[in-house]
Symmetry: D2
Subunit: 305 residues, 4 copies
C-alpha cells in the first residue's frame, strides 16, 4: 500500500461515512467490521475488506478506530487478531471512539512499546454531519502524532481542536461535552414540563429559545426531539449515553472534581434503563420529569407499557 | 398627549435604552424613575419627566414598566401615587419586568377593574441588545391587549413571541429561560473544572464548544465570563438572579412540577450569597466548583478574603 | 366551668386519645369536631360536645387545637364561629398541630390582641403513643403561657421540651424532626435496595440495624414498614407528609438555610403523589428507589396499576 | 501452636482491643503490625510478635485482619511476606476491615486455591465498644467458614449477624451502615442549622431528639459531636469515611441501584477535603451547611484559616 493507505476499524453509523469520505478524498481504504455485511457497500465504492483488525493495517501505516466502548477498542487493538502488533514501528493509531482517558493513555503506552504513535480524536456531530465532513474533532496526543493525524482529520471535520499532549485529554473534553448536552436536555425537560403544566405549548417554547439565546445545535437538535417526543429511532441510544456519563463521573471522581449535575444525570439514565428505555434516544430522560409532573405521556412510551 | 404617547416607569439598565428607542421612533415619552437623576439624560433627548408613576401616565394611554421585583412593581402600579388609577379606562400596561406569574395575574385583574388592559412582556437580552432593538420578547395576556402592545414591542426587539392568554404565561417562560441559563452556567463550571484539573486550558474549552454545538449567546456570553473569571462588573447581579430562581422554584412547586436542577441551583446561589458574592455576576457560582475541586481561585474572589 | 375545664378542638387520631386522657385525669373536657360522629364516643366517657369551636371554649379558659393544617387551624381560631374571640381575656390556646412557624406567630399576635395567651406544642409520637401518654412534646411561646400550659401537657406526654419564647420555635423543631424521619426513610430505602440487589434479605438488614446503632423508634417503626412494604393502612399519610416537608423547605428558604436533602425529599414525595401514592404511608417513597433499581414491586403498589 | 492459636494482623484502634480480648479469653495470640511499636504493649500482656504477616500465622490456623483499606489488606494477604500462602490448607481468614465486596470475593477465591477458608466480618462500634466486647459484627462467607469463625467472633461482639454465603455480603451491609450514619449526620446538620438560625440552641435540639425518636447510638454519638463542634480529635477520620462512601457509590453503580443521597454525601466529603478538613471527624461535613447558612463557625474550623 502507498503512503495514503488508511485502515478503518469499526463501521457503525460514524465509521461508515468517515470511510466513505476518505475513499472520496483519494485514500486507499481498507475496512474491518465484526459483521462483514456492513463492509460490503464500501467495497463497492473502492474499499478493500479485511478479515481481522490485524489484516486491515499495514506496518507503519495509519489506522482509524471507531468502536462502541473501551473493551471493544482494547480487544481490536491488543486482543487476538488485534492491529497493534501489525501496525508496528512507524504506525499511527487515530482513536475516534468515545472512551475513557485511561484507555487512551494505556493504548498510547502500548503503541509506544511497538514504535507506533497514538492520538485520541473523538468527535462531536451526528452521522449526517459526518457525511458532509462537518464534524468537530477533539485531538490530543504526542506532538508528532498529532502532526501526522491532522491532514487526515481535516478531511473529516470542519474543525480540529488541539487539547494538548496527554493522550486522554481529548477524551475528557468529549465526555465533558456529552455531559453538557445531557445537562441541556434535563434543563429543557424541566422547562417544558413547567410550561406545559401552565398551558404553554412545548413546541412554542422550543421555537422561541432555539431562535434566541439557545440558537445552537445542541438545543436545536435535542429540543426538537423532546418537544415532539421523537425518541424512536434513537439518534443516540440511551444506554450508550449512560456509558459516557458513567465515564465522566468516574473521571470526575478520579480527578477529585465535584460534578453534582453529572451525578444526578447518571441516576436519571439509570432510572430510564430500569423503565425499559435503554434503546430510546437518551433525551428520553425527559419522560421521568413529565411523569412526575403528572403530564400525560403517550402510551408506547409510558412506564406502564 | 396624542395617540403615540407612552410612559416608561423604571429607568434601570433596560428601561433607559427602551425609552430612548421609543423617543427615536417618534413616540412622545414621559419617564419616571425613583431617583430623578437617571431621568435627566432622557429629558435632553426630548422626553418629559414625571414626579410620580401616576403623573407619568395619561388616562387611556400606555405605560411600560421595567422594575426590579414584584414588590416594587406592585407599589408603582397600585401603591400611593401608583399609575393604575390614573391609567383608567382604555389604558394599557405593558409589564416588562421579570416577576412571578401571580403578580401578572393580579395586576391584570386590578387593571381590568379599572377598565385597563395588561400584558406581560419580559425580555431576554442584555442592555446592549436593548440599545440596538435586538431583544427577544415574551408576550402574554388578553388578545386585545396583545394586539395593542405589539406595534410598540416590535420597535424594541427582534422577535415577539406570543405565549397565550394567561397574563402570567410570559413570566413563566422568562423564569424558565433564566433557569436554563443558570443550568448552562453550572454545566460549564463543572466541565471547566474537570478539564482544568486535567491540564486543559479553560479558554480552549470555551473556544471549542462555543464554536461547535454550543455556539449560541447563552454559552458564548457566560462561558467567556467563567473562562476569564470576569465576575465584576456584573452583567447580571447574583442576588437578582437568586430572586428569579426562587420564583422559578415557587412556580414549579405551585405547579407540582419537579425541577431538581432548579432546586440545586438555588442552593448554589444561596451559598454564593453566604460567601459574600451577591454583587458578582451570577455565573460566579462557578467558584464553588473550583474551590471544592481544589483549583486555585484569585484571592479577591476567594472565600477567605 | 371550673378551673380544670379544657376544650379540645379537632378529634382526629391524635385529638381523640388526648381528649380521653384529659377526661381520665379529671379535666372537664368539651370537644368539637367538624363531623360530630367522632365526638360521640367521648360524650359517653363524660365529655361535653360543642357545636362550634366558639361554643367549646369558655372565656378565660383553655383550648387545645389538633387540626390538619394551617388553613383549618386559622379558620377554627379566627374564622366564623372561631374560638379566639370567645376565649377572650385570660384565655390560653395550646396549638398542637403541625403547622408553619408563621401561623403560630400570627395566632400569638391575634390572641394577644384579645388578652389571651398562646403556645405552640406540636408532638412526636403516633396515636398509640398518645393513648399511653408517651408523646414527646415541643413547646414554645411566652413564658407565662408556657407555665400555664405545662401541667396539662405533662398529662399527655413523657417529655415536654421548652424551645424558647418565639411562638414558632416549637413548630420549627417539629418540621425538622419530620424532615429527619423522612431522611432516615430514604437512607433505609437506598440501603435496602442495595442489599436486596445483592441477595441480602431486607428483613435481615432491618433486624440488624435496628438492634444496633439505629435502635430507636424512627428506624424501628419505619424500617419495619419498608422491609415489609406495609404501606397500607398508612400510619402517616404521604400527602400530609408532603405538606410538612413543603413547610420545612419554605422555612429553610425564608431562613436562608440550605437543606439540599429536604429539597430532594420534597421531589420524592411529589413524584410519589404523581404515581398515585398519596394515600399510602409516606415511607412509600421507597418504591421509587426499588423501581429504579429494577427490584420487583408487588403489583398493587407498582406504577403500572 | 495449639487449636486456640489466632494471628491478628493490623493493630490500629480496633485491632488492639480485639487482640487484647482474645488474649484475655485464653487464645494464643500472635500479632503483626507494620510499625512494631504498636505491638509491644500486647507482648507485655502475653502475645507473641511476628515480623511479617506470613510469620504471624500457622499452617491451618486462624488469622484475623484489621487493616485500613483494600490495598493494604490485599498486600498483607497476597503480597510479599503475605499470610495467604503460609495459612495454607485448612486455614481460616477472618477479614474485619471495611473494604469492598469485590476484595472479599477475590480473597475468598485466592484462599480457596490454597485450601483455606474466608469470611468477611466487618464491625460497627467504636474502639471503646471493641474494648468491652460490644461490637456488632456482620458476617458472610461459606457456611463452614462461618461456623468456624463464629465462636471467635462471639468473644468480640454483642451480636454476630449472618448475611449469607456471598463473601462480599457483609461488606455491603457495612458500607450501607456507614452511608446511613453519614446520612444521619447530614440530616442533623441541616436540622441544627435551621434551628440555630431561628434562635434555638443546637444542644437543646440534640438533647430532645436523642431522648425521643432518635434515641440510638448513631444519633447520640454524632449528634453530640455536631452540637459541640468537637471534630478534633476525630472518632472517625473524614478521609477514611470518604473512602467508605466511595466504595458504597461504586458498589451501587455496579449493582445498578440509585443512591442519590450517597452521591450527594460523597460530594460533601470531597468538598470538605478540599477545605482542608480531611483529618477532622467526618461529621465535620456539617460545617459546609453552617457556612452556607451564614452561621458563624469557630475560626480554627473555618475555611479562611
Amino acid at each position: 500500500m502507498g503512503a495514503n493507505a488508511v485502515a478503518v476499524v469499526g463501521l457503525g453509523n460514524m465509521g461508515t461515512p468517515i470511510a466513505r469520505n476518505l475513499l472520496a478524498s483519494g485514500y486507499a481504504v481498507t475496512v474491518y467490521n465484526r459483521s462483514r455485511d456492513k463492509a460490503e457497500p464500501l467495497a463497492a465504492e473502492g474499499g478493500a475488506i479485511a478479515d481481522s483488525p490485524a489484516a486491515a493495517v499495514t506496518s507503519g501505516g495509519v489506522v482509524i478506530s471507531l468502536l462502541s466502548n473501551d473493551a471493544v477498542l482494547e480487544q481490536a487493538a491488543l486482543g487476538a487478531g488485534g492491529f497493534a502488533d501489525a501496525l508496528g514501528a512507524g504506525g499511527l493509531h487515530i482513536s475516534m471512539s468515545t472512551v475513557s482517558p485511561e484507555t487512551s493513555r494505556k493504548l498510547a503506552e502500548e503503541h509506544a512499546k511497538r514504535g507506533s504513535l497514538f492520538v485520541a480524536a473523538p468527535v462531536f456531530g451526528r452521522p449526517d454531519a459526518a457525511a458532509i465532513r462537518k464534524l468537530w474533532i477533539c485531538l490530543s496526543g504526542a506532538p508528532e502524532a498529532k502532526a501526522r493525524a491532522l491532514p487526515i482529520l481535516n478531511e473529516l471535520g470542519q474543525r480540529v481542536q488541539d487539547f494538548g499532549d496527554d493522550p486522554g485529554g481529548a477524551n475528557i473534553v468529549k465526555l465533558s461535552g456529552n455531559f453538557m448536552i445531557l445537562a441541556a436536555i434535563e434543563a429543557m425537560a424541566e422547562t417544558m414540563a413547567l410550561c406545559e403544566k401552565n398551558g404553554i405549548e412545548r413546541q412554542t417554547v422550543y421555537d422561541f429559545f432555539t431562535s434566541a439565546n439557545f440558537a445552537c445545535p445542541a438545543y436545536q437538535s435535542y429540543g426538537r426531539i423532546i418537544a415532539q417526543r421523537a425518541y424512536e429511532p434513537a439518534g443516540f441510544v440511551l444506554e450508550l449515553g449512560m456509558k459516557d456519563i458513567r465515564l465522566a463521573r468516574e473521571t470526575a471522581a478520579a480527578s477529585k472534581v465535584p460534578m453534582p449535575v453529572a451525578d444526578f444525570l447518571f441516576l436519571r439514565l439509570q432510572d430510564a434503563v430500569a423503565q425499559g428505555r435503554s434503546k430510546l434516544d437518551w433525551s428520553a430522560i425527559e419522560l421521568a420529569t413529565a411523569e412526575a409532573a403528572g403530564i400525560p405521556v403517550p402510551a408506547p412510551l409510558s412506564k406502564a407499557s
